[in-house]
Structure formats: structure tokens, C-alpha cells
């Protein structure tokens, strides 16, 4: 048993900040940096973990931990959310600051962007005020080289007074040297004398008045100069965190209270109030950063960003901005739909060929027919449908989507859509959390932490479910390819499918905006808060890595979850379909019970039951529908996807049923994992219930409206 977090002082903080040392001499290394500087890439390369990375600010929303062994020493790396400063203007900045200040890391690596170093130095300089155990990692050197920016790392290190290491984390260059520096810092082999920012004379005087009193009380626990500055700054949130960490209130000490008053009086005489002080402090830091950069960086080509600007002028232009966005989405869908068709067919054929063999094997064994029923007709078949219908679209969509993400396109989406979100009184970053929802709604919900206003964060969480996650995507694609594509002549099939899918997604985004607006006017009243959005430089995506990442991280993970749920679901369906009470199976009783309501909203009892059974994982909705129909209908053998349409039609499906099933898939209760995440993030059953009910009610109303309008005007 090693030291636990409790005994190292970390335990006083949030559970997310708890670090387990496996050995007493394990070193804890915090990884900090501005958003979007490749921090997660550095983390992944050092620890071998697959923290998902993307080229947009705010990707890391929780603290990820991983182990890195260097020179036979264990280093526990903690990946902190990206922050521009330690003055904590949002929850994630607070998390990062609290860890650097109060988590007692043995060293802090600050990852910086070589192409934008001056802005990054703000965080570096602020960190140096707190701790001297800092290693600065100048990342993205390869990008800087391309832009003809050269950085004198030695000069930079001399100026800052701490080790500075240049890296290109994506190709792994410089990481060894980085760990060497970390090793030296944690073993006190290198004495660092970090740069100390000199403020305005009056501020320095005020610090001198207060600092000794703090030193008397805290000694080495925290930098007394920094604490003095923060006490004068009256940063409420920080002072609360400080109190939690120290377990007593600094201002309860008479001496300190007296000195604070004295120091403040000194400032007041010079006309420095609370706001002026903050301005002067920040200005001093920024002008220091400016000075350091002017001495260590040479930019050969002032116009190094002109290609990015040109691309931006096109992809965010008034005329082309939105069409390009929808077009790109369309291309991704088109590739997914056309690409998924053939592998689906092949996998289905292969798996059902195996089924044939397995059946013969069971007959040869002489097992009773119910054993064959349970294992083959129930479990195996459901699994086969999950794999053949769900796997190909997932395996194609996610790498494509990740490529867009890696390229840096998503912040441009947020930029394009911001005005609509503003008009819905929602936060501009909601466009980003919405994009995360395409991957997984639960991840999207956690991503909502990048929104600092609690009101807007709740809106983003409640509406996140309106974009289909990777579990529901294949459902939509499967319905489209099974049902609609076959109706049109073949050259237009994929075009029609793409348009339909794009239409559904655009409708989901539209509903996100409508519901956000309604929430803002009713139960979550308020005005949009201020926001700033960074548009990071475009980067060439690493295609190979993206494919591997998205297949292993997302596709296989989601598929494994689906398979896990499919086994019991398949079992339940087979059993309920084969146990008869009074002439009908339990399955048809249940479906019959749901049927009247389901018919009202354009579905049928089996479809609604599939959605209910799909609560743990949406991926299994379509396989359950297929299984239920097969268990109750006349068609017993299906050996390809082309017959699925016949199966659906023979159970009364019309195009309205298909449309309503797609709409209901887009808008119904969030899956189990998502609900659980909402509960965890909102800390409230009430908001979890709201998040459950709003999409469900919206879906029911929409489907009711569609189904009955069509019936009324007699289209079918």
C-alpha cells in the first residue's frame, strides 16, 4: 500500500483530483497549458493512454491520469484542462488552478504553442509566481518551423529561469528530453530561480507590507508573495479554495487582517482600487511576456497565417459559410452510407453462414430444441444483427468526423452558428458540445463544462440529446438504406439517402435551438452571457492515427457495449416470443399493450418496445425490431439485408412508419449512460428528469403531428 491521496494533502480537493501513488517515491506531474496546444497529445505520447484529442479548445474537461516510467522512476501524469490564466474564470480553469496551487504536484509541465508563444507565456508567468518546480514545454515546433518562426530555447530558459524544452509531440520528438528535465526538477538536481515579475512600485510596496505576516503563518506551504497578491486582489473563489486547502481562514488572523488593511490603504492613496490593481497586475505580466518574446523569437514572415485566413474567409463567409458546413456534413454522410452498404451485406452473409454451421453442430450434438433456440435464434442472431447493421456505419463515420475535428473545422462551425445560439439565448460554445454529442451524448454532457454559466450549461445538457450519437446514427442509416434507398432508382439511391439523413440532422440542430430558446424564456430564464471563442490554426490531420484512434477508442468501445446489451436483450426476446399464455406469446402481449399509444405516434408496439429495451444502449433498437418481427412473423430465414424491407413491410411499415421511427430515434429519452452522466454533472434529479422528459415529449409531439397530418390529408 502506498501513500493515498488523503495523506498527501490532495484529498481535501474534489474527488477528481485524487491521485493514487503506487509507491512512496512516485512523482506527481501536472500537465498544464492553454487550450489547444497539443497538451493531450503530449500526455498520450508520454503515458500511452488514449485520451481523445481534437483540434479545438477545451477538449480535456476532466483530469486524466496516466503513468510514465522514465529512468526507472514512476511519474504520474495528470492532464489538466486547458486554461489561459490561473485567475479562474470558468469551472475548468478553476480545476486546473486548484491542482497546480493546492494539489502539491512534484513538478508542473506547462505545454505551450510555439506558433503563439507570447499569449501562452501569460500562463507560464502566472504559474512561476506559485511554484518554481516548472518545466516549460514549447510544443508544435514543427508547425512553427513551417511558419518560419524560430525560437531561441536557451534564451527563453535563461529569461524564465526554468528549463525550457522544445517538442513536436505528434511525431514524438523532444519528449525524452522533456522527461529528462522533469526528472532533474523532481530530484532537485537542477536549481531553478524562476523569473519574478516586478509590479508597479506601489503594488510592490503593498506586497512588502503584507508578505511577512503570511510567511509567518504559511512558511513553505505556498508562495507567500503570491498569496499576498491574491489577498489584495480579493479573488473570492480563490480565497474560498485557499481556505479549503489550509483548513482555516487567513483573514481570521488578526495580524494579517491588520496588514491587509495597511496595504490596501497604501494602494488607495495611489488611487489603485480593486479593478485598477487587477489591470496593473495583468498588464505587468503581459508586458513581461512581450519583452521575453521580443528577445527570444524571430518571425521571418509576418504573414505566416495568411493561408489560414484565406481558408477562414471562405468557410465562414456570408454566402458559402453555411452551405459549406452542410455540404461537408452531407459528404461525410454520403461516404458513410455508400461505404457501409457492402460491408454490411458481406458481414451479414458471413455471420448467417456461420449460423447455419452452428445449427448443424447443435443438431449433431443432439441438444434439445430450446437450447438451440436460446443460443442461436436468440442470442447469436441479435449479436449478428448488431454487428452487421451497426458496425460498418460506425467504423466509417467516426474516422471521417474525427478528421474534421483534427483539422480544426469544428470551432469554425461554432463561429458560423454562434448568432443562432445567441438568438436562442444560449452559449456559443453549445455548438461545440453539440458536435461532441455526435460522438457520444454522455461525452457531450461532460463537455458542457466548457460553458461557465450554470444556466447555459444546463440548457446545453438538456438539449444535447437532439443530435444523434454514434449509437443512433447507424439506426438512422439502417432505416434509410433498408427502407428508402430501395424505392428510388439506383443512381439516385445514395443521394436521396444522404439528403434524408442530412435533413434529419439539420432538424435535430433546429430543435436544439428551438428548445434552448423555449427553456431560456421559461424555466431557465436569462440572457446570454459573454463568451470568447478561439479559432485555432488549421492542422494537417494525422490520418493514420485518426483512423486507429477512432476505431479503437470509439467504435470498438461502443460496439462492445452494444454486444454486452444485445446478449440479455436477445435472450429476453427469444424467451418472451416463445412462452405462450392463452395462445399468444408474452412478446405479442407486451407489444399489444404498447400498440394503441405507439400507433398514435406513427410507430407500432414492437418499435416502441425496442426503444424501451434499448434504454441501456441505443445501438440495439434496430436489431430488436428485426428480432421481434422475425419471432412473430412468417419469415423465418433472412440471409441478407435486401429482405429486411420485405420483413418491415409485411409488418405494416409504410414510409410514415420509417419517418416516425427516425424522428423518434432522434428525439426520445437519453440512453442510460447519458442519464447517469446528467445526474452526475447536474447533481440534481430534477434536471435529470427534465433532460429525460424534454426530448421524449418533443419526440412524441413531433411524431404525433407527422403521423396524423399524413393520415388527415390522406397521403396514405
Amino acid at each position: 500500500m502506498g501513500l493515498t491521496s488523503q495523506s498527501t494533502g490532495i484529498g481535501v480537493l474534489d474527488s477528481e483530483l485524487r491521485i493514487e501513488r503506487s509507491r512512496v517515491d512516485d512523482k506527481i506531474i501536472a500537465l498544464a497549458g492553454n487550450p489547444n496546444v497539443g497538451k493531450s497529445t503530449v500526455f498520450n505520447s508520454l503515458t500511452g493512454l488514449n485520451q481523445h484529442t481534437g483540434n479545438w479548445p477545451g477538449k480535456t474537461v476532466t483530469n486524466a491520469q496516466g503513468k510514465c516510467i522514465h529512468k526507472d522512476k514512476n511519474f504520474i501524469m495528470v492532464d489538466l484542462p486547458g486554461t489561459y490564466s490561473l485567475m479562474a474564470n470558468s469551472v475548468e480553469e478553476e480545476v486546473a488552478r486548484d491542482f497546480i496551487c493546492f494539489g502539491n504536484p512534484d513538478a508542473t509541465i506547462i505545454v505551450t504553442d510555439a506558433t503563439c508563444l507570447e499569449r501562452n507565456l501569460n500562463l507560464v508567468l502566472q504559474t512561476l509566481e506559485i511554484t518554481s518546480n516548472v518545466v516549460v514545454c514549447v510544443n508544435l515546433l514543427d508547425e512553427a518551423k513551417k511558419k518560419k518562426i524560430s525560437i531561441d530555447l536557451k534564451e527563453l530558459s535563461y529569461q524564465l529561469g526554468v528549463p525550457v524544452i522544445g517538442t513536436s509531440a505528434r511525431s514524438g520528438r523532444g519528449l525524452g528530453a522533456l522527461m529528462d528535465a522533469v526528472y532533474e526538477v523532481t530530484n532537485q538536481e537542477a536549481a531553478s530561480t524562476p523569473l519574478q515579475i516586478t509590479y508597479d512600485d506601489t503594488i510592490e510596496e503593498a506586497i512588502r507590507i503584507l508578505e511577512p505576516a503570511i510567511w509567518d503563518l504559511l512558511k513553505d506551504r505556498l508562495s507567500s508573495r503570491w498569496v499576498a497578491l491574491k489577498l489584495l486582489d480579493e479573488d473570492e473563489i480563490l480565497l474560498q479554495a485557499l481556505q479549503k486547502y489550509l483548513d482555516f481562514e487567513l483573514t481570521s488572523d488578526e495580524n494579517i487582517l491588520q496588514k491587509i488593511k495597511e496595504a490596501k490603504d497604501r494602494l488607495e492613496i495611489a488611487g489603485i482600487d480593486h479593478n485598477v490593481l487587477r489591470d496593473k497586475v495583468v498588464s505587468a505580466i503581459i508586458s513581461t511576456a512581450e519583452k521575453i518574446c521580443s528577445e527570444s523569437i524571430t518571425i521571418e514572415n509576418e504573414k505566416y497565417n495568411h493561408i489560414d485566413r484565406k481558408i477562414d474567409r471562405i468557410v465562414t463567409s456570408r454566402i458559402f459559410g453555411i452551405p459549406i458546413m452542410i455540404g461537408l456534413l452531407g459528404i461525410v454522410f454520403w461516404l458513410t452510407i455508400t461505404g457501409a452498404n457492402y460491408p454490411s451485406e458481406m458481414i451479414a452473409k458471413f455471420l448467417f453462414w456461420i449460423e447455419g454451421w452452428l445449427t448443424e453442430f447443435f443438431i449433431w450434438l443432439g441438444t434439445p430444441s430450446w437450447v438451440h433456440g436460446v443460443f442461436i435464434m436468440g442470442i447469436y442472431r441479435t449479436l449478428a444483427w448488431v454487428v452487421s447493421v451497426m458496425l460498418p456505419p460506425m467504423a466509417i463515420f467516426f474516422p471521417l468526423f474525427t478528421l474534421l475535428e483534427d483539422l480544426g473545422y469544428l470551432p469554425r462551425v461554432a463561429f458560423n452558428l454562434d448568432n443562432y445560439f445567441k438568438k436562442s439565448c444560449a452559449h456559443g460554445k453549445q455548438a461545440l458540445t453539440m458536435c461532441m454529442g455526435f460522438g457520444c451524448n454522455a461525452a457531450g454532457i461532460i463537455g458542457c463544462r466548457i460553458i461557465d454559466s450554470p444556466r447555459e450549461r444546463l440548457i446545453a445538457m438538456i438539449t444535447n440529446n437532439f443530435v444523434p450519437c454514434n449509437g443512433r446514427f447507424p439506426t438512422l442509416i439502417a432505416i434509410i438504406t433498408m427502407f428508402f434507398a430501395g424505392v428510388v432508382a439506383s443512381p439516385f439511391q445514395s443521394l436521396v439517402s444522404t439528403l434524408l439523413l442530412t435533413g434529419v440532422i439539420v432538424y435535430g440542430v433546429f430543435m436544439t435551438l428551438v428548445i434552448s430558446k423555449i427553456l431560456s424564456k421559461t424555466i431557465l430564464k436569462g440572457l446570454p452571457s459573454s463568451f470568447t471563442l478561439e479559432l485555432p490554426p488549421y492542422r494537417k490531420p494525422q490520418i493514420g492515427r485518426v483512423i486507429i484512434r477512432s476505431v479503437f477508442d470509439r467504435t470498438l468501445f461502443v460496439l462492445a457495449r452494444a454486444v454486452l446489451i444485445a446478449v440479455p436483450a436477445g435472450l429476453i426476446i427469444w424467451i418472451t416470443a416463445n412462452i405462450h399464455i392463452g395462445g399468444s406469446s408474452i412478446l405479442s402481449y407486451c407489444a399489444g399493450f404498447l400498440n394503441p399509444f405507439a400507433k398514435l405516434i406513427g410507430l407500432d408496439g414492437y418499435i416502441l418496445m425496442a426503444f424501451i429495451l434499448g434504454f441501456p444502449a441505443n445501438e440495439i433498437v434496430i436489431p430488436i425490431i428485426i428480432m421481434s418481427y422475425m419471432a412473430t412473423g412468417n419469415i423465418m430465414e433472412l440471409d441478407g439485408l435486401d429482405q429486411l424491407r420485405e420483413l418491415l413491410v409485411s409488418h405494416g411499415w409504410t414510409w410514415v412508419t420509417a419517418v416516425c421511427t427516425m424522428l423518434f430515434s432522434l428525439m426520445h429519452w437519453p440512453c442510460g449512460t447519458t442519464c447517469w452522466t446528467i445526474k452526475k454533472e447536474s447533481q440534481s434529479w430534477k434536471w435529470t428528469a427534465v433532460s429525460f422528459l424534454i426530448p421524449t415529449v418533443t419526440g412524441i409531439i413531433t411524431c404525433f403531428f407527422v403521423a396524423n397530418t399524413v393520415r388527415l390529408i390522406g397521403l396514405i
Binding site: 474564470n89 503563439c116 485566413r309 477562414d312 474567409r313 459573454s530
Partner: protein, 80 residues
Amino acid sequence: MNNNIIPLNFLPLGKKAKVKVLISDGIMRRRMLDLGLTNGTEIEALQRSPSGDPVAYDIRGAVIALRSEEASKVIVEAIS
């Protein structure tokens, strides 16, 4: 009166300006400062989003989008 002193949201695209004063306070002021918008900082208006708002600005080498509400609270002096 100097006609060049304007709120940032009135700065035409492609033009540069220097920050004169921030008229916001609280969290918004802090966030602006964090972006490096201190006195004398040079800003260039780069690109409008399709619906006209927000606008992307070049601030110390980073491209930052600001809604007109925020930009109107940064008073700048246009450089002609």
C-alpha cells in the same frame, strides 16, 4: 474629439486598432485581460461570421471571436 476612438465592434474588417480602455468589469473584464487586451495592444478585425456577428479578431497572434456585446466594451483607437 478624436474620430478614431471607437468601440471595437465598429472597427472595419481588415483594419487595425490599439486598445485604449476596457469598459467592462467583473468576469468579463478578467476574460478580456486574459486574452491579452491590455492598454496599447494591437488588434486587427479579420472576419465576420455568416450572420454578421460574432467577428474574429487577431489578438496577439491568436484568432479570437467576440460577440458585438463584448467588442462594444473595448474602446480602441483605429490606426489609419
